[in-house]
Amino acid sequence: MPAERLLPTTEAEDLIALAREIAREELAPHAAEYEEAGRFPREKFRLLGKSGLLGLPYSERWGGGEVPYEVYLQVLEEIASAWMTVGVGLSVHTMSCFALAHHGTDEQRERWLPAMLEGDLLGAYALSETHAGSDAAALSTRARRDGDSYVVTGTKAWTTHGGEADFYTTMVRTSDRTTDDTGGISCLLVDADTPGLSAAAPERKMGLTGSTTAQMIFEDARVAADRLIGAEGDGLRIALASLSSGRLGIAACSVGLAQAALDEALAYARERRQFGQPIIQFQGIEFLLADMAAAIESARAMYLDAARRRDRGLPFHRQASIAKLVATDAAMKVTTDAVQVLGGAGYTRDFPVERYMREAKVPQIFEGTNQIQRIVIARELRKA
C-alpha cells in the first residue's frame, strides 16, 4: 500500500512517481539477492544519478534539483522502502555533499560540485574513528600542512561506502584538541584516488549487508590544500550541520523500511488462515497492525514537520533529533512486530521481514545513537 502523501506541486508528484517506478522495477526485485550475497549495488546508484536523484535538495546553480527537503525526504522514503541499503546510501551521499555545497567557496563548488550532484559519483562521509564514536570531537586522524597540501595520517572507522565511493568528505585534526572540544578539526574533500588512501576489509554486519562499511586508512596521503572546505578549525561545526540534515534522511529511510514491513505483514495477515479464518480477523493481530500503522504515520508526520521547518529557514535541530529518535525506534518496533505477524515464516529468510528487522537496528546507532539524540533534544530544552 503506497503511502498517501500530500505533495506541494505537480512536479513533486511526478518525482515521487518516478521514485516509485524505479523502486518497484529496479530496486525491490534485487534487494534480497544482493543483501544475501553481501554485494554492493553500485550500478543502482548510477541509475539514481542518471535520473537526477543524487543532488535533489541542492541548488540548481550547481546541478542540484533544488527541491524542498519535504519532497527530497519522501523520495528517499520510497527508495528505502524498496531497498534500505540504497536508501541509506542515497542519504549518506546527499550528506557527503553538504560540506562543499554549504561551506565551499564558489570556486570549489564550480570545480567539484556538479559532478557530485548531477553526475554519477558516489560520496562518503568520514567522521567516526574507532575511539571517537559518540564523542566525535576526540578524533585523531592528523592532517599536517606541507606546502600546497595536507599530509593525512590515521584511520577513519565505519565509513559507509568505504572503498566504493569516489570522494570522502573527511574530518581531520589540523591542531591539538582544545579545551572547548570543538577546535582543531577541519574538513577535507578527499578524492578516492588519492595515493596513500586505502580501504580496509569491509565490516561483517548483522544487517544492511549490501552496504559496504569499512575503515579508511590514510598513510601519508597527500591532499591538495585547496580541498580544505571552510577554514581550518571549522570541521566539527560543518560535520554537525551535515548530520542535522543527514538525520532527517535516516528518519525518512526508517519510515520507508517500517512501511515495507507493514505492507508485508498486512498482505500475509490477509492470506494466512488459522482457526478457520484469516489471521487479520483476530483482534490480537489487527491491533498489532493498527499500532504499526500509527507508529509509521506519526514518524512520517514528525520528519515532515522538521523538514518543513528546515525549508522555511527555521531552526530544526531539535525536531531533526526527535524525528530520528522516533522514526528509528518505530522502525525497530514495527519490523519486530512484522516478524511476529508472520509467525514462523517471519523468522525464515524466505520472507523479507527478518531482514527488515536486522536492517532496522542500525539506524538507532548511526548518525548519532538514539542516546545522543536525547542529549541533543535535552540540550535544546535546557536552552529554551
Binding site: E11, D14, L18, S51, G52
Partner: protein, 261 residues
C-alpha cells in the same frame, strides 16, 4: 528530420486490480491507479531514438479524460517536445473505429507528419486494431507489430513479428507504425525531464474543435456492445509434486495430461 506523432494512452496500472463499471461495462478508470501504458512508453522511446539520431520533433497525442494529463506529462518528461490532448465527455465508451477517427482528425492538425508511432495494443482494451484503422483513415502505409524500426531518409523499414513469423516491411514516409514489447527498453524520465515537461506546450481539444461529428463517437454510437462481463476467477492453488528423482517425468506427464505437449 522526421516529424513524429506518438499515440499514448492512459490505462489502469497492471499492478493494481482492474475492474469494469457495473452499469455499462466500460472500464472503471477510478478504481485503479492510472499510468501511461507501458507499450506507449516503448513507442515514445522509439520516437525519441529516431529523433536523437536525426533530430526532428516528437508530438504526443492522447485521447482520454482530463486526468490523462498525467500520462502526457510522463511522455513529455521522457523527452517528447509537445502534446495534443483530446478530452471530451462525449468520447466515453467510444469504440475503436470512433477512436481512430478522432485520432486521425487530431493528427491532421500536425503539419508535415512523417511517422505515426503507436503501441500494437493497449494493455486495457487489447483490441490492437487502432493503428491499422488509423493508417486506413490517413491513407498511409501501415507497418504494425514492429520489433525493429529503421528510418532511412524517406523510407522506413520494419521487422514485423507476429505468431505467424517474421516479415520484413518497407514503406515510403509518411507511415503508421505500431511497436511490440520487444522493440526497446523505455528510459526513465529524469528529474530534469520532469522540470522541463512543465514548460512544454499541451494543446487541449474537444471533438467539436476537431470537426468530428458527435454522432459518430461515444458509447451510444459504438458498433460493438459489451453484453456481459465477469471477473477473472481467483487463481487456484495449483498442483504440487515432490521430486523424488522423477520430477522431469512427472512434469511431462502433467503437460501431456493437459494436452499441452
Amino acid at each position: 528530420m522526421p516529424n513524429i506523432v506518438v499515440l499514448v494512452k492512459q490505462v489502469p496500472d497492471t499492478y493494481s486490480e482492474r475492474k469494469l463499471n457495473e452499469s455499462d461495462h466500460t472500464l472503471d478508470r477510478e478504481s485503479a491507479d492510472a499510468v501511461l501504458d507501458e507499450i506507449n512508453e516503448r513507442a515514445v522511446e522509439e520516437a525519441l531514438k529516431i529523433k536523437e539520431a536525426s533530430e526532428g520533433e516528437v508530438t504526443v497525442l492522447c485521447v482520454g479524460p482530463d486526468r490523462a494529463t498525467d500520462a502526457i506529462r510522463k511522455a513529455l518528461s521522457m523527452g517528447a517536445d509537445k502534446a495534443i490532448h483530446v478530452s471530451d465527455e462525449s468520447l466515453h465508451g467510444s469504440d475503436m473505429v470512433a477512436t481512430a477517427k478522432v485520432i486521425a482528425a487530431a493528427i491532421g492538425r500536425v503539419e508535415g507528419v512523417d511517422l505515426v508511432i503507436a503501441g500494437n495494443e493497449a494493455s486495457d482494451g487489447r483490441g490492437g486494431a487502432v493503428p491499422a484503422m488509423l493508417a486506413e483513415l490517413l491513407g498511409m502505409p501501415q507497418l504494425t507489430h514492429a520489433r525493429q524500426v529503421t528510418v532511412d531518409g524517406s523510407t522506413v523499414q520494419v521487422d514485423r513479428e507476429t505468431e505467424e513469423g517474421l516479415t520484413h516491411l518497407e514503406a515510403g514516409l509518411p507511415a503508421v507504425i505500431s511497436v511490440t514489447e520487444k522493440i526497446n527498453e523505455p528510459r526513465y524520465p529524469s528529474f530534469k525531464g520532469i522540470m522541463a515537461a512543465k514548460k512544454k506546450p499541451v494543446e487541449t481539444l474537444t471533438v467539436a474543435d476537431l470537426g468530428v461529428d458527435a454522432g459518430e463517437v461515444g458509447l451510444a454510437n459504438a458498433w460493438s456492445t459489451v453484453l456481459e462481463a465477469a471477473p477473472k476467477p481467483p487463481r487456484t492453488a495449483g498442483q504440487r509434486v515432490d521430486d523424488e528423482g522423477d520430477g522431469g517425468t512427472k512434469i511431462a506427464e502433467y503437460l501431456v495430461g493437459q494436452k499441452l505437449i
